[in-house]
């Protein structure tokens, strides 16, 4: 038997109290006068059994109540029969070793290894070891300490990853739930207690009853650390040339106040902007402690738009302690551009396109390449180029081949915005106007005609799905932006099954209906995009809405110039994955498909406790899209022999690791442990945790609690009887 809270067993020492009380002769405070002790002095049995216990039954009841109370609070654990042959001796220790790159600073790693080694050497303990950065990996499953491999720590090095204490705690939870129930579990967290590694909103503490020991391996004072925290790229388009302005963010971090060598002195440093490993510009800066984080802007420069370039901002200073965060790499790719195709009805130039063109030409990030075409004479090549097709009151004029090609393009990921004008309204009135269109392109059937140009009935916008990416500009509220927008005419659209209404007019009619088609989507706009059926183009909301529409319909996701180690990049490539070759920062080259397969296989063989928080490789990857976790700092290059320009991915260390801001140890520890006593959570972890059961311990606790209550009741009854007896005896005397 073992106890979850053995310190409460000291409460059993209170047993001495009732024993002494019952041994003590309860004497009256003042002696009773008596005429003569002549006879009592001759009573021969005096002093016999002087230390005899009085009221043995009452004493037994009191002792039993105290003992049961102590046992109840101590929470005994009785190992079930056959629960294992190991003799429960020492405790069970989960060692969580911080392997983030900040651990390589100032001798922290050596102290951490020494602490872990010391813990592993405690005889009789069951130990397990988890290394963690942003992900946790079980380095040593539950093992008796004597059987831990001697070479376990020799090959360990701090990584280049950031810190995520949540991942470490989740791994510890799984190990705790695999632990024996008959021995206490202690989690030892060996870390530098970096503030950036703890997300206070991540409420995932250790199971109740598990003791947490925090080993801070920092040893102050430590020198200051300088780091390039990130870059921002601003593009300037002048004609066909694109100029880029690089702004770098630089930080200076001290382990703690007053621990710097010269806390008040500015540190001189040199910043160098490199493109394709060639120096572009060098700036000398002085990093003042009064402004620990600041931005440095380099001169604009022109980059060739035919390919992607390797950019880097490197910092060099004498008084710096960590080198891996002194370089920030980024990719300078030609600015993104979306191709938008305007399809107008044949026979006339629609005024509708005027406002639309003007609005789209104002968009710069991404840029819009605008093309026009006439329904009925669409070429397949122009359709293939279009990321978004906008059909202006011409949906009924599309020919069969055009519509088929358009639908195929949408299914492949492009977008279509259909506006409804007089032509479409007339077509909606006839039953077979859209018979030639494929099913996916047919507009939502109009159940009845609503409004009309003659009526000039003004309607307003009633509601908007602000959570939809098309309306992201209005996420804080659309009413201000759309106040005063009048809709004079709108065709009544009736969504089909699978359609989604994104906006309603105040008479309940849908204004914008979304229909997903394959990997793309179609938006049906119930009115025209010019100022004839509504005055929306004359309001401020017009351009931001169109911007959101184009981005959403095109499925545009801007590619960041750089990633943080541990982040997952989405690979959306113009050729199948198998056509690409991947060169990792380490220099290893392998076919991308093969590399991703290896990642999938490695993920499948990971123990349950080491399941990463993000997938190393997307299990649902398609032929030309995949997710890839970036776990090395540097440039990843994807190249192909098919003539496509190489694609680059830049990876940097987590900037949060450069910040030595320290967590408050008490707050941190309080956030990781569960307050109150309760059974450890029984999680399913690869079927191992299923062997554990807290139910018997709960039953034992309840049994002890009930027995305590019963003993207290018996004590009360016996004490009451005794008191009545004393009272009657006293009354007789008086």
């Amino acid at each position: 038997m073992s106890f979850l809270a053995p310190l409460f067993l000291f409460g059993a020492l209170a047993l001495a109290a009732p024993v002494l009380l019952h041994l003590r002769r309860r004497r009256a405070k003042t002696p009773q006068p008596f005429p003569s002790l002549m006879f009592l002095e001759n009573v021969p049995v005096r002093s016999v059994k002087r230390r005899r216990l009085r009221d043995v039954a009452l004493l037994v009841a009191r002792c039993a109540a105290l003992l049961l109370l102590a046992l109840t609070f101590a929470q005994p654990i009785v190992p079930s029969l056959g629960a294992g042959s190991e003799v429960a001796a020492g405790e069970q220790v989960v060692l969580l070793l911080d392997r983030s790159f900040s651990m390589s600073h100032g001798g922290r790693w050596e102290r951490a290894l020494a602490a872990v080694s010391e813990r592993l050497a405690v005889a009789g303990d069951r130990v397990s070891l988890v290394g963690f950065g942003r992900q946790a990996e079980v380095l040593l499953p539950w093992t008796v300490s004597e059987q831990a491999p001697a070479s376990l720590l020799s090959g360990l090095r701090p990584g280049v990853d950031g810190t995520d204490y949540g991942a470490a705690v989740r791994a510890a939870r799984r190990l705790v739930n695999q632990a024996d129930t008959d021995r206490p579990v202690r989690v030892v967290l060996v870390t530098d207690v970096q503030a950036g590694g703890w997300d206070r909103s991540d409420r995932n503490p250790l199971p109740a009853g598990v003791e947490l020991e925090l080993l801070d391996v920092r040893q102050e004072p430590e020198p200051a650390n300088l780091a390039v925290l990130g870059v921002r790229l601003e593009r300037q388009q002048t004609g066909d040339r694109e100029r880029v302005v690089v702004t770098a963010r630089v930080g200076r971090f001290s382990p703690g106040p007053g621990t710097d060598d010269e806390p008040g002195a500015a540190i001189p440093a040199r910043l160098e902007l490199q493109v394709d490993e060639r120096e572009v510009e060098t700036l000398d800066v002085s990093i003042d402690p009064a402004e620990p984080v600041f931005e440095v802007e380099f001169q604009p420069f022109t980059v060739a738009s035919d390919r992607e370039h390797r950019g880097a901002v490197a910092l060099s200073a004498v008084a710096d302690s960590i080198g891996v965060d002194d370089v920030h790499r980024f990719v300078m790719a030609p600015g993104d551009a979306l191709s938008v195709l305007l399809v107008e009805p044949p026979g006339r130039r629609s005024q509708e396109a005027f406002y639309l063109r003007r609005a789209l030409q104002t968009l710069s990030d991404p840029r819009i390449r605008l093309e026009s075409a006439v329904a009925g004479s669409l070429q397949e090549t122009i359709l293939e180029r279009a990321d978004v097709t906008i059909v202006l009151d011409a949906i009924a004029d599309l020919q069969g081949g055009e519509s088929e090609a358009l639908l195929a393009r949408i299914g492949a990921g492009a977008g279509l915005l259909v506006s409804v004008g007089p032509r479409t309204a007339s077509a909606l009135a006839s039953a077979d106007a859209f018979a030639a269109l494929p099913e996916g392109l047919r507009p939502p059937a109009a159940s009845e005609r609503r409004g009309g140009s003659d009526e000039r009935q003004v309607r307003r916008l009633a509601s908007l799905s602000t959570e939809h990416p098309s309306f992201r500009a209005f996420s804080d509220g659309f009413r201000d932006a759309f106040t005063g927008v009048a809709f004079f005419r709108a065709e009544a659209l009736e969504p089909r099954a699978g359609d989604r209404v994104l906006a309603y007019l105040d008479d309940g009619a849908p204004l914008l209906v979304e229909r997903p088609v394959g990997r793309g989507r179609i938006h049906w706009y119930a009115t025209s995009l010019d100022a004839s059926w509504s005055d929306l183009p004359l309001h401020n909301a017009y351009v931001p809405w169109l911007d959101g529409e184009v981005r959403t319909l095109a499925g545009y996701r801007p590619r960041p110039p750089s990633y943080r180690i541990g982040e997952v990049a989405e690979l959306a490539l113009p050729l199948p994955l198998d056509a690409w070759t991947l060169e990792a920062p380490s220099g290893d080259r392998s076919p991308l498909g093969e590399f991703l397969d290896q990642r999938r296989a490695a993920a499948a063989t990971l123990p349950a406790a080491a399941t990463p928080t993000a997938p190393d490789a997307d299990p649902l990857a398609s032929a030309d899209q995949a997710l890839m976790r970036l776990d090395q700092p540097g440039f990843w290059e994807l190249s192909t022999d098919a003539g496509e320009a190489p694609r680059l991915l830049a990876t940097n260390v987590d900037a949060a690791e450069s910040d030595f801001g320290r967590l408050d140890a008490d707050e941190f520890a309080a956030g990781l442990v569960t307050v109150g006593e309760g059974p450890r959570e029984a999680e399913s972890a690869g079927g191992v945790a299923g062997e554990r059961s807290d139910a018997p311990r709960g039953r034992l606790w309840w049994a002890l609690a009930v027995a305590t209550l019963a003993a207290l009741c018996v004590e009360g009854v016996l004490a009451s009887v005794r008191q009545r007896r004393d009272a009657s005896s006293g009354a007789a005397l008086s």
Partner: protein, 304 residues
């Protein structure tokens, strides 16, 4: 002689609980004795001399032969003649006022009970025309009033003022009493006799040897007989101050056994010596003690 009828005035005033509320000792003694005597059918005690003293009204219990019939014929009322020298014996009351007597769980402490008893006996003796003397003692004679016909008030005054003394010792005071008594008479000793029986006998024997009729009233409180204390009680000797812790399961039984042995030894030895010994429980009424006195008085008259 029958016991007082329960609920009658005499019985009520013989109850120690009632007596305790009467502070005037003379009134108390008179109340008790008159009530006690009135319950008797006939006064068995007569006394006569040749010296006329006065007439007094006939009282129930007086011998009708003492009625002056001539006076009755003139006044149509009953009078009896009183004569000087009607007293035919002397009564000496020896009251133990040692500290041990100042104890009581009954309505009256032993000392108060003894004081009341002595007062009643003094009044009764005086009413019977006996000479009354008083001696208060602990281990010494604290106060002594020689027997005389007119010493009743003085004796009552002494009894009303008495305070508990120190440690008790029977032999020395009683030997002195025996030595100082010039005439034989009745000696009433009221004490709790907390001495070994041989010492008590030795102390009392001198009085008997000198021809006195000795009446011993052994006053004991009910607690002294039963010892109703448990193991949690410490007892302190009133005279010596010695404390003793009660222990052992049957100490009370042992104690009661020793007390009974003590009483029986005293009773046996005094019977052997012809001394009248009466054990009085202070929770009992006074009548037994009064009857015992009157019986001793009668015996004394007959023996002369």
């Amino acid at each position: 002689m029958s016991a007082p009828v329960r609920g009658s005035a005499s019985a009520r005033f013989l109850d120690p609980a009632v007596l305790g509320r009467i502070s005037n000792l003379e009134l108390l003694a008179k109340t008790v004795v008159e009530g006690f005597i009135s319950g008797l059918h006939r006064s068995p005690f007569v006394g006569r001399s040749m010296d006329f003293a006065e007439y007094r009204a006939y009282m129930p219990g007086d011998d009708i032969r003492q009625i002056d019939w001539k006076l009755y014929s003139r006044s149509d009322r009953y009078y009896v003649k009183e004569f000087e020298g009607d007293t035919n014996t002397q009564v000496t009351l020896a009251l133990d006022i040692s500290r041990s007597m100042d104890f009581g769980t009954a309505p009256l402490s032993k000392l108060d009970y003894g004081r009341t008893l002595a007062s009643c006996l003094a009044y009764l003796a005086s009413r019977q025309r006996d000479r009354v003397g008083l001696m208060l003692f602990d281990d010494e004679v604290r106060e002594q009033i020689p027997p005389a016909a007119k010493h009743l008030q003085r004796a009552l005054l002494s009894l009303s003022r008495l305070e508990p003394g120190g440690a008790g010792d029977l032999e020395k005071p009683l030997v002195r009493l025996a030595d100082t008594s010039r005439r034989r008479g009745i000696v009433v000793v009221i004490s709790d006799f907390y001495e070994p029986p041989e010492q008590v006998v030795r102390a009392v024997r001198g009085l008997k040897v000198r021809g006195n009729d000795v009446l011993l009233f052994h006053l004991l409180d009910p607690a002294e007989i039963e010892l109703p204390y448990d193991e949690t009680t410490d007892l302190e000797d009133l005279e010596s101050g010695v404390r003793i812790a009660l222990s052992g399961g049957d100490f009370a039984r042992q104690y009661r056994l020793l007390v009974q042995q003590h009483i029986e030894t005293l009773r046996t030895r005094f019977i052997e010596l012809g001394i009248d010994y009466t054990l009085i429980d202070t929770s009992e009424p006074l009548d037994r003690a009064l009857h015992r006195y009157l019986a001793g008085r009668l015996w004394s008259m007959k023996s002369r």
